[in-house]
């Protein structure tokens, strides 16, 4: 065993970072998170939503989670597997986190903070201090925080047979509480299911009995699974032959597709609309993925292609004075004729967009493309282009697509259009990724000069990236136009580009399943939690920072990307003492294992 690594582990985990200092740090971080949530207005908003009606609100749940999390983090950062040594630092961490909130409550009572911070309302003060007033309520906050932290630590150190069922049960209750609107709509089909819905839900959230029932069922099922079923299941999985495994995978994919196709029918038009929006962002994500993920061209003007697709569709099909049909001899086209033209127009714009920035690299490219995107928006919005594009009012009355005599008017029907488009696009994206062109893109991403030296035609390859990426966005824009039946410039702001960028980063750059995961997390989730919609951009900002710091390869990375990023980040990761300690600890335990 190397002396150096042990020394490193000891120094990093005990010397400078005594357990209490670490606990203090954890408490401070979590306390700041809680105070931040209150000041920005997320906490008050969460307080308005019940998880269990008249018992626990979503805000309470978040604060309880922070308390439990303090203990869990203390436990995770401590090596010993015993519980009792964890109690004092957990008390400190939870107490400090509660203490910061108590300070906020005190400040709110002492000063008229609301004149500056609009979210710090008296009702927030009341709910923070349990209606007891700041000094007493603050003391209660500290005590509750400390106790919750101990509970969290205890839960982390509890045997698996207890920990898993409890956490899974709680998670189920929270999910059923948070998504209650959605689940209630889905359960409203009548008959026995509807009766079940009425027994566990009121219109505002779960009843106490319902929550208990869900908890018992979920934790019971988990207990049975971990205790008796999981072992044999794993055993069988290991002994599957490769052919059987492929078969199992095909069944899983087929099931997934079946759920995807059937869900909007079962769940109604609202879910259909959300899923369609997710589908549009998946389309755009796949396009930007070609540019950023594969070719390494950070394009912040991506929304321009989306706009081109939407506006081309509008001009060609709309029943409005801005449509080509109304002032030229070109007849008004059907959607099916306009869509390919829109995609083609996006490709042309993509290539034209790419030519001037061919020689611009890296950070400058991001700013240059953003400038190009903004130029497109400013021009479309201006009175100069208003006779052609309708200015700020946009172009209205775009007809819905028709198949035969049948109009695709419902969001669910449009969802199937999006799904079909996404499926075709995904096939193209997948083929492109593994093509000669895809490999050329990756070579350009990794090193432009070397790629050129190896005979890759940079101009051709880069312009293809812009053009093909734009094609995806144009297709999405075209569907977007018929979804809204109107287009206006305010739909095509830089936010859309950032949104798409955020989703491919959260999902994992250069990874197709990652795009889907990212779109569901960043577009679907905020859409489902409607009242938190205004905080979605906060979520995007935080997601970009946190993903880059914690998991730069994304939630569902492509295999190559994961390898590269780990190598690249290798040296910088070690700058963090905490991580260095963790790494050293891991090394030590590896060494110990091999010795045993």
């Amino acid at each position: 065993m190397s002396v150096a690594t042990v020394d490193l582990a000891d120094r990093a985990s005990s010397g400078k970072h005594s357990p209490f200092r670490r606990a203090l740090g954890i408490g401070l971080i979590l306390g700041v998170v809680a105070v931040y949530g209150a000041t920005v207005g997320i906490l008050p908003l969460m307080d308005a939503r019940w998880i269990i009606v008249n018992v626990v609100s979503l805000g309470d749940t978040a604060l309880i989670a922070i308390g439990l999390g303090a203990g869990a983090m203390v436990a995770a950062r401590t090596r010993s597997s015993e519980f009792w040594p964890l109690v004092p630092p957990s008390l400190v961490a939870g107490g400090v986190a509660g203490g910061l909130l108590a300070l906020l409550a005190l400040a709110m009572q002492a000063f008229p903070l609301r004149q500056i911070f609009i979210a710090l309302s008296p009702s927030l003060l009341k709910s923070l201090t349990f209606g007891l007033g700041a000094p007493l309520g603050g003391a209660v906050l500290i005590v509750v925080g400390a106790l919750l932290a101990v509970l969290g630590a205890a839960l982390t150190r509890a045997p698996e047979g207890l920990r898993k069922p409890v956490t899974v049960g709680l998670a189920f209750v929270i999910v059923f509480g948070v998504f209650q609107e959605l689940i209630q709509i889905m359960m409203q089909s009548g008959g026995a299911i509807d009766a079940l819905r009425q027994s566990i839900y009121t219109w505002e959230g779960l009843t106490l009995e319902g929550a208990l029932m869900i908890f018992v069922l979920a934790s019971g099922a988990t207990f049975v699974w971990t205790a008796w079923l999981r072992g044999p299941a794993r055993e069988r999985l290991i002994h599957l032959s490769p052919a059987q495994r492929r078969y199992a995978k095909a069944v899983r994919v087929a099931l997934f597709i079946l759920v995807l196709v059937l869900l909007p029918v079962v769940a109604g038009s609202y879910i259909g609309q959300v899923m369609m929006l997710v589908g549009l962002y998946i389309l755009m994500g796949m396009g930007l993925n070609l540019e950023v993920g594969l070719a390494g061209l950070l394009d912040l003007g991506f929304v321009a292609f989306f706009a081109v697709g939407a506006y081309t569709t509008a001009i060609l099909t709309a029943d409005s004075p801005h449509a080509l049909a109304s002032y030229t001899a070109i007849p008004s086209l059907s959607y099916w004729a306009a869509m390919p033209i829109a995609v083609l127009a996006s490709i042309v714009v993509g290539v034209l967009f790419g030519i001037p920035v061919l020689g611009v690299r890296g950070d400058y490219l991001a700013v240059a493309t953003m400038g190009l995107g903004e130029i497109v928006r400013v021009v479309v919005q201006s009175d100069m282009a208003a006779p052609l594009l309708g200015g700020a009012q946009g172009i209205l009355q775009i007809p819905k697509p028709r198949i035969g005599g049948y109009e695709l008017a419902d969001p669910v029907q449009l969802f199937y259009l999006t799904l079909a488009a996404s499926a075709i696009a995904a096939y193209f994206a997948w083929r492109l990724e593994n093509s000669r062109l895809g490999r050329a893109w990756m070579a350009v991403r990794d090193d432009e000069d070397v790629a050129q030296a190896l005979g890759i035609n940079l101009v051709k390859v880069k312009l293809l990236a812009y053009g093909l990426g734009a094609a995806f966005a144009g297709l999405a824009g075209s569907i977007f136009a018929v979804m809204l039946t109107s287009v206006y410039p305010s739909s095509f702001q830089l936010l859309v580009s950032i949104n798409v960028l955020a989703l491919i980063i959260v999902g994992g750059m250069g990874s197709l399943p990652g795009v889907m995961v990212g779109a569901m997390a960043l577009v679907g989730l905020p859409e489902l939690l409607r009242e938190f919609g205004e905080f979605r951009f906060l979520l995007y900002g935080a997601a970009l920072i946190i993903m880059m710091r914690v998991r730069p390869e994304g939630l569902w990375p492509s295999a190559t990307r994961r390898r590269e990023l780990r190598d690249e980040a290798g040296e910088s990761v070690l700058d963090e003492p905490e991580e260095a300690a963790a790494l050293a600890r891991r090394r030590v335990s590896d060494v110990q294992k091999t010795e045993l």
Binding site: I118, R361, I498, F535, G541, I545, A569
Partner: protein, 364 residues
């Protein structure tokens, strides 16, 4: 492709005409188009004579005013880029935080009448709070978001910076509301002093003076102090500077503090000029100021000042001079178009700027 990659000169040698590609055609069309709009528009406007000398002077003064604000913001970009080779995407939003902090001092001061009674001390108080706030926020972003990427290559730092920008904007939106708040409008700012028979509003003189004073102080700090020397050394070559015993971390922190302070002053000035604050206000001036920094040669402090002024004047004079002459309706809506076009032209054709330093050539 090599001439594309290394940034092209305005007039390629005749021998390269043999390799004139489609890409070159488009780029030349772009150059000629911009020149034609500029020349044609100017001639058209001047022949029509729609604007008198007073109006041109007003455009110019407004351009210098807004340009000096851009210059202050551009300094933050250029200094941070110099030491870290990072585009601090959130710098415009740091300016916004300064404007907000100034608002929360200025509004009560205006309400009590103090801002009207003793303008100097009131303005100093507003500037002080704004500078303190944006400096602290600049330092926090450096510590929490940028330091972990000190040695990272690739797109990660830039993406993180975009995240910081959004995070700051949305935090302020959540904490202070999404609405636009009116900045106080004291009477003395409306008065005018006459220069060569043209009236110049005191507000604009104040903004230019504040900008000039802070830039002079900054220039002295960068040129004369030990820390400034260290900054220039790190900007030249961070590794060599570290070997010479310079604490690079301290220099980076100092750079962010200086940039934040400049952004705070810029924020208050910008808010007084446009009389409003809102959470998204930092974005557009931030991007424009970045363009100004590149225009002046990124990494160069005097370049950022010149670039900012140039951009401000072009943007202010441009709509009337270039666009009115070619018959564009409502040319003032296209002010941002001129600024962004300038930004893109600079990034494409002269990425090393006017006072270009060599290093940008390697990067861009």
């Amino acid at each position: 492709m090599s001439e594309v990659a290394t940034g092209r000169t305005l007039f390629p040698k005749l021998s390269s005409l043999a390799r004139f590609t489609f890409v070159d055609v488009v780029l030349w069309a772009l150059r000629i188009g911009v020149v034609m709009v500029v020349v044609g528009g100017s001639v058209g406007t001047l022949i029509q004579g729609r604007y008198g000398a007073v109006q041109w002077f007003e455009f110019l003064v407004f351009g210098v005013t807004i340009g000096s604000v851009y210059a202050l913001v551009a300094l933050g970009y250029t200094m941070v880029y110099g030491v870290l080779r990072l585009i601090n995407f959130a710098h415009g939003d740091i300016m916004m935080t300064g404007a907000f902090a100034g608002y929360f001092v200025a509004a009560p001061l205006a309400e009590t009448g103090f801002l009207d009674r003793s303008p100097v001390s009131a303005m100093l108080a507003i500037f002080a709070v704004a500078v303190a706030t944006s400096t602290i926020i600049a330092l926090l972003t450096e510590r929490l978001a940028y330091r972990p990427f000190r040695k990272a290559r690739g797109l990660a730092p830039l993406i993180c910076a975009i995240g910081v920008s959004f995070f700051l904007e949305q935090t302020f939106r959540g904490a202070f509301g999404a609405g636009v708040r009116a900045y106080p409008d004291p009477k003395w700012q409306k008065g005018a002093i006459s220069f060569f028979g043209f009236g110049v509003p005191i507000l604009q003189i104040m903004v230019v003076a504040a900008a000039l004073v802070s830039m002079a102080i900054l220039y002295l700090i960068v040129q004369r102090t030990r820390m400034g020397t260290a900054m220039r050394a790190v900007s030249e070559d961070a590794d060599a500077a570290a070997l010479m015993g310079i604490d690079v971390d301290r220099v980076v922190v100092f750079t962010f503090a200086l940039g934040g302070a400049m952004a705070g002053i810029a924020g208050v000035c910008y808010a007084f000029v446009f009389k409003q604050v809102y959470f998204y206000m930092g974005f557009t001036p931030g991007i424009k100021a970045f363009g100004a920094a590149v225009l002046g040669g990124i990494g160069s402090v005097p370049g950022a000042m010149l670039g900012g002024l140039f951009l401000g004047v072009v943007e202010s004079v441009g709509p009337a001079l270039f666009l009115d002459g070619i018959g564009v309706t409502a040319p003032y809506q296209l002010r941002d178009l001129i600024a962004f076009t300038l930004l893109i032209m600079v990034l494409i054709f002269r990425p090393y700027g006017i006072l270009g330093e060599r290093m940008a050539k390697k990067r861009a």
